[in-house]
């Protein structure tokens, strides 16, 4: 399975023609074609390009709604590059 970094996930925010991806439970799902994820936004509260594992716990629906979307890859919980140093 393709490995996807947090930076790659963040870039897929659904804006300006970019794909809309969301992270959930270690996987990345493609929600670009979903009516409910237009412009990378879902129900005014959730944004694409993020790991929504924690947010989904408070959602009025279960994980099955996310798991029905195409899987893009596996989320690697570490950013590459940037200005931060790992300790």
């Amino acid at each position: 399975m393709r490995e996807i970094t947090l930076d790659e996930l963040r870039a897929a925010d659904g804006h300006e023609g970019r794909p809309a991806w969301i992270g959930y439970a270690g996987r990345v799902y493609d929600v670009t074609e979903s009516f409910l994820w237009q412009r990378g936004s879902h129900q005014a509260l959730h944004k694409a390009g993020r790991d929504l594992t924690v947010e989904l716990e408070a959602a009025p629906h279960g994980a099955e709604f996310v798991e029905g979307f195409p899987v893009v890859g596996q989320l690697i919980p570490r950013s590459t590059g940037g200005n931060t140093c790992e300790r």
Binding site: F35, L36, Q43, A44, L45, P60
Partner: protein
């Protein structure tokens, strides 16, 4: 706009802009569902379809009532409806309840209807959770709508063989919970 009313909601810790976006999305879902249910109802024909037509009609009228009831609250809080109907449609909190490819497939019709209601139940539950104890007026409205959406869901669910709805159909009246907001 009801300036102090909005201020009170903000002070209670509700993100009013976020709430307004949700209210507009749900108002859109109600009006677009009213439109799509019109097409579904027209196509509920024959021995199987006729039995469902009346509850589909009640759900259709009540969804329009929900739209009517939501609009004043949107403007009270300083929000507004999009000036473009297409933008309004596309902002819907629920996917379009389009006519199934085979309208004679009553089970597919019922699936479309029940999925639309389930989306609404999720949406209003969320608004209730968001406003409970903070925005009393929006909570009261969302709860009234939620009560009716749950009844719609259970009617269609019953026809799908998922178990009894637990209540009887309306007797001529519509919106027993929401009507107080329409007077």
């Amino acid at each position: 706009m009801a300036k102090v009313a909005r201020e009170m909601v903000e002070k209670a810790g509700v993100n009013v802009d976020q709430l307004l976006e949700l209210l507009v999305k749900n108002a859109s879902a109600e009006l677009t569902t009213y439109y799509y249910y019109t097409i579904l109802r027209v196509n509920l024909i024959g021995l199987d379809g006729e039995g469902i037509k009346e509850i589909a009609e009640v759900a259709r009228i009540e969804d329009r009532n929900h739209f009517e009831a939501l609009v004043p609250r949107i403007y009270e809080l300083g929000g507004k409806l999009p000036d473009c109907m297409k933008a309004f449609h596309d902002a819907s909190a629920c996917p379009p309840a389009r006519l199934p490819t085979d309208p004679r497939d009553i089970r597919a019709m019922l699936q479309t209807l029940v999925e639309a209601e389930r989306c609404a139940v999720r949406g209003y539950t969320h608004i209730c959770n968001m406003t409970a104890g903070k925005d009393h007026r929006t909570y009261d409205l969302a709860l009234a709508i939620l009560n009716e959406e749950i009844e719609h869901e259970s009617w269609f669910s019953e026809f799908l063989g998922e178990g009894p709805s637990g209540h009887f159909m309306r007797h001529g009246e519509t919106s027993p919970f929401v009507s107080k907001f329409l007077k």
